[in-house]
């Protein structure tokens, strides 16, 4: 080291010498005696040059990251698991706080504020989905589905889950890992239920596949293709009638206008947290929630860490601490429920601030705005020669654009040249014949943006 490092206090030599002297050794090397000689790496490490000065490091990072093109400088119509939404400035302020970024685990008193904010995340999710029990967030929506399905399998003792035949391939791939390969003793069978021409679950096929071996029905509203299920209560009722759990995946931003799963008979709700005040972060903004009734049947199967309000020893004061820790992997290792660990807890603070600022009226307004803007965009695209959108389907935020003859990959390349990220290419995916793209329109898209997209699409076909 030529200079003391700004991030290492004891790299200034006095402190080091004082500690060596206290230990009575001449060099640090003497402290590594536990490691046998033949375990040492014999060569040097070929790493890029040290950038200890912030001025150099900052320039280097900026040089690299500026090679990205962004959804801020381009019009972005990509969704499918990460969505371009407006992130209120207060959310960035909240997650930027050093206290929260550097909190480790603490105690209910030393990290009281963070624990309360966690509780408020759970409380506000609970209010949106109308469930009383909400765990701390998990890695992603797909992971939330995986855990919910495993909870259902444990609760029912059954090993089959029904899912829509049209499901986001990202989430489905995650779920397949959670359900384990057929060689494993506790493998969960994934059975697809047909999706009808209206984009909703096919009720006849569902009836044919529901039986007393089914642990859970999982469906989403809005679906992967953005379709709003017409009768979610009927689907849940069909599942629970055979003793299966009704797990519903929802977009929390839709819940100002769409019914809460807890109100129509779902038994577990899951969904993404990124829409609630978290940037897309190249996919690093994703998170997931799990919610259910607050009965022991459900509560005792949660794999998450769970935070409860509790009294303190001071009359009238309350705080927040962990409950049901013993059933987590921290408490019970392999006897625990699945596993937990570091998740996306910092994002839950952005989510909490977002939901508090939005309030009931904010959710209602954003829901209506997204419905209206997406509908307007779909109509405008449908009017383009060579494109079509099924306007008979009610949809939220996302919709399928079909191309008569154009190739989506080629179209998207042309759109990129015009500063537009076209919808996700879903050609060849289940339920899609021919060329199609999944478009996402949210509160960030203006009428002028839609006009620009339409003009660019016309030029690109």
């Amino acid at each position: 080291m030529t200079k003391p490092h700004p991030w290492m206090a004891n790299s200034a030599s006095d402190a080091k010498q004082e500690m060596l002297a206290a230990l009575g050794v001449n060099s640090v090397e003497a402290l590594f005696g536990q490691i046998p000689e033949d375990h040492y790496h014999s060569g040097t490490f070929n790493l890029p040059r040290q950038l200890a000065s912030e001025v150099e490091l900052s320039r280097h990072l900026n040089d690299l990251l500026s090679k990205n093109a962004t959804a801020a400088d381009n019009l972005c119509f990509l969704g499918a698991g990460a969505w371009p939404h407006y992130v209120p400035a207060i959310c960035d302020e909240v997650v930027g706080r050093y206290e929260w970024q550097t909190s480790v685990f603490g105690s209910p008193t030393s990290d009281h504020g963070r624990n309360q904010a966690w509780f408020e995340f759970c409380s506000q999710i609970g209010a949106l989905v109308e469930f009383d029990f909400v765990g701390l967030p998990v890695y992603s929506w797909g992971c939330a589905i995986g855990h919910a399905v495993r909870m259902a399998a444990r609760m029912t003792g059954r090993r089959t889950v029904l899912i829509p035949a049209i499901m986001d391939p990202e989430r489905l791939s995650v779920l397949r890992n959670y359900c384990e390969p057929p060689e494993m003793a506790r493998h969960i069978d994934i059975v697809e239920v047909a999706v009808g021409p209206d984009g909703c679950i096919d009720r006849a096929d569902l009836a044919a596949k529901l039986n007393d071996g089914v642990a859970a029905l999982y469906f989403e509203t809005p679906s992967y293709h953005g379709v709003i299920e017409a009768d979610p209560a009927g689907l849940c009722q069909a599942a629970t009638a055979v003793g299966a759990e009704a797990i519903v995946g929802v977009d929390p931003l839709s819940l100002g206008v769409l019914e809460a799963p807890g109100a129509y008979g779902a038994t577990i709700a899951v969904g993404p947290t990124q829409p609630l005040g978290v940037h897309m972060n190249a996919g690093g903004g994703v998170g997931g929630f799990i919610a259910s009734p607050d009965t022991e049947r459900y509560a005792r199967e949660y794999p998450t860490l769970n935070i409860t309000i509790a009294e303190t020893i001071e009359e009238g004061e309350y705080g927040f601490g962990l409950t049901l820790f013993g059933q987590s992997s921290y408490g019970s290792r392999e006897e625990g429920k699945d596993w937990t660990g570091n998740s996306v807890y910092l994002w839950s603070l952005a989510n909490a601030a977002y939901m508090a600022a939005m309030g009931p009226a904010g959710f209602e307004e954003i829901g209506r705005l997204i419905l209206a803007r997406a509908r307007h965009a779909a109509q405008a695209i449908d009017a383009i020669e060579g494109c079509s959108v099924d306007l008979s389907r009610p949809f939220f935020k996302e919709f399928v654009v079909r191309f008569d003859s154009a190739n989506v990959d080629t179209v998207n390349a042309k759109l990129r040249d015009q500063g537009i990220f076209g919808g996700k290419d879903i050609s060849g995916e289940p339920g899609i014949d021919g060329q199609a793209a999944l478009y996402c329109v949210t509160e960030i898209h203006t009428d002028q943006d839609i006009d620009r997209l339409v003009a660019a699409l016309k030029k690109s076909l």
Binding site: N10, N68, G81, G113, Q116, A282, N306, M358, I366, P394
Partner: protein, 518 residues
């Protein structure tokens, strides 16, 4: 004229008090009609099926933007984090650089969609590729993947890769066991179990680790993998680890190195050279990205060539002059989580590693081991403080497991009481030990390379002071904290289904029922 506060000898001990805002739960701050966010008028909204429409508005707070901001800033102020001194063992608390935060907060990463065409992702992909190379250099592995959302998720990734590897050889049905040790992180046995394996846990022996004989008696044709850390959380390094790996390979199993405790061996050992097939680094701790109270995190999972085909997809690969996302990997386990990882954390970890360089990493390892042994020596001089395996006289690596069992026997004050009381001096709660506690009344500090000798001395001085208090005034210790944001929680109702409440809805309902019953 009064002396400046810094000259008062007890100022640092007595001067601390947490912010205390008596902040209501956010729902209680609601006032009907107030708005914290408004949106443009939607215009005509399409008709929706009646069965899909929400009937009752969600019971969320109605408050202004300013009130929402102030509320959460109040809560942040009542969070100690690393504003005081936090030597939280096993989590390797480092400086979470502001330049890292600034870099990732800009639109050029924050406003990037993961499904953008790779041509528009060249900056972040280049960072992934460069950082992959650095981790390969540090570990000797051939490829890393950053999809796992935390250290435990990387352990789970390993369990999934293990399934795919043995399935590809037609041996998965036969290989249904994963072997670990009682000193491994709980996520190793838990993820092995969640992936469908039976878990075999080896116990510690005289030298502080399980014997090679015990391992050999536990492995065989049913062994799918070994999952271990080294050194463990007591700072004890298993010198027979190469022989362990040979034995497990000998029966056809894979070996996974949970490198959560990398700090002490950084730039000295390479996982692959020890024989491991795969390893995991925690970017949110070891590589300087924030822990954030529990993520977003990254378990960077790396492996040798023979496991690369099974890694989650996509992989970031070099292609011509640029970088691409490779999805065409037929033997891949697919996704353990959507997309390709917590990019901001990867960028921050890369920034940290670049700021350190090879010489900085070496210095960090040296300082962390030096500081730990300095702490170990000073703590050993405190009355009632012992450490695990005291008969082992070797210097420990980056942390040591200590015990206050004697203090508890003498005074009734447990390690939790002591931890609570230490927060009155601005020290964040200690890390005790993962379950099960093999050492009674345990605590596990880890100084790392960040904290100054003065901070470390202060931490030890506070513990000395609290132990003294335990002997003369145990009530003060047992009722601590006294200078916190709130008082000690009453834990009696927290495990009671009638009283626990993870949401405000549940709390109100249960309070109402309790009042009705009275």
């Amino acid at each position: 004229m009064t002396a400046p506060i810094s000259n008062r000898s007890d100022a640092r001990f007595e001067g601390y008090h947490s912010a205390r805002w008596a902040e209501p739960v956010v729902m209680e701050l609601s006032s009907p009609g107030r708005r914290g966010a408004v949106f443009p008028d939607a215009g005509p909204v399409p008709d929706l099926p009646p069965g899909a429409l929400r009937k009752a508005r969600p019971v969320l707070p109605e408050m202004t933007e300013h009130d929402a901001l102030r509320h959460y800033l109040h809560l942040s102020q009542m969070t100690l984090g690393m504003m005081g001194v936090s030597l939280f063992g096993t989590c390797t608390m480092k400086y979470n650089s502001r330049i890292g935060e600034r870099a990732v907060a800009a639109d050029q990463l924050a406003e990037v969609h993961p499904l953008q065409h790779p041509d528009t992702l060249q900056g972040v992909l280049e960072i992934y590729a460069n950082f992959n190379d650095m981790l390969c250099e540090l570990s000797g592995m051939d490829q890393f993947v950053f999809q796992a959302g935390g250290g435990a998720d990387a352990a789970y990734t390993h369990a999934c890769v293990t399934r795919a590897y043995h399935a590809s050889r037609g041996e998965l049905a036969q290989r249904d066991q994963i072997v670990t040790t009682i000193q491994s992180h709980p996520c190793s046995p838990a993820t092995a179990n969640a992936a469908g394996f039976e878990v075999i846990t080896l116990s510690l022996e005289e030298n502080g680790y399980p014997s090679l004989d015990q391992l050999k008696s536990a492995i065989g044709p049913r062994t799918a993998a070994l999952m271990v850390n080294n050194p463990d959380d007591m700072g004890i390094y298993n010198p027979e680890i190469k022989e362990w790996i040979k034995a497990v390979h000998g029966v056809g199993g894979l070996c996974f190195y949970d490198h959560a405790n990398f700090n002490g061996v950084m730039t000295r050992v390479r996982a692959r050279e020890l024989g491991f097939d795969a390893c995991m680094f925690m970017l949110h701790k070891t590589f300087g990205a924030p822990k954030g109270g529990g993520g977003p995190a990254v378990g960077a999972y790396g492996c040798a060539d023979h496991l690369v085909p099974f890694l989650p997809s996509p992989l970031v690969v070099r292609q011509g002059q640029g970088f691409a996302l490779d999805e065409d990997r037929p033997q891949s386990i697919g996704r353990v989580r959507e997309f390709w990882g917590n990019a901001p954390q990867v960028v921050k970890a890369y920034a940290w590693a670049r700021a350190m360089g090879a010489e900085g990493l070496r210095e960090a390892a040296d300082l962390s081991v030096l500081a730990n042994n300095y702490m170990d020596k000073r703590l050993g001089e405190l009355p009632g403080v012992t450490k695990s395996h005291p008969h082992i006289d070797a210097w420990r690596l980056e942390m040591t497991r200590h015990s206050v069992e004697q203090v508890t026997k003498d005074t009734g004050c447990t390690v939790v009481d002591i931890a609570n009381r230490m927060t009155d001096y601005g020290i964040d709660a200690l890390w005790l030990s993962h379950e099960p506690w093999v050492v009674p009344e345990p605590f596990t500090p880890e100084a790392g390379e960040l904290w100054s000798k003065e901070d470390i001395d202060y931490w030890i001085d506070v513990m000395a002071r609290v132990i003294k208090e335990a002997y003369v005034d145990p009530k003060t210790v047992k009722t601590a904290p006294h200078k916190g944001a709130i008082h000690q929680l009453k834990t009696d109702g927290m495990e009671d289904p009638e009283r626990w409440a993870t949401t405000w809805r549940a709390y109100q309902r249960k309070q109402g029922m309790a009042e009705a019953a009275e």
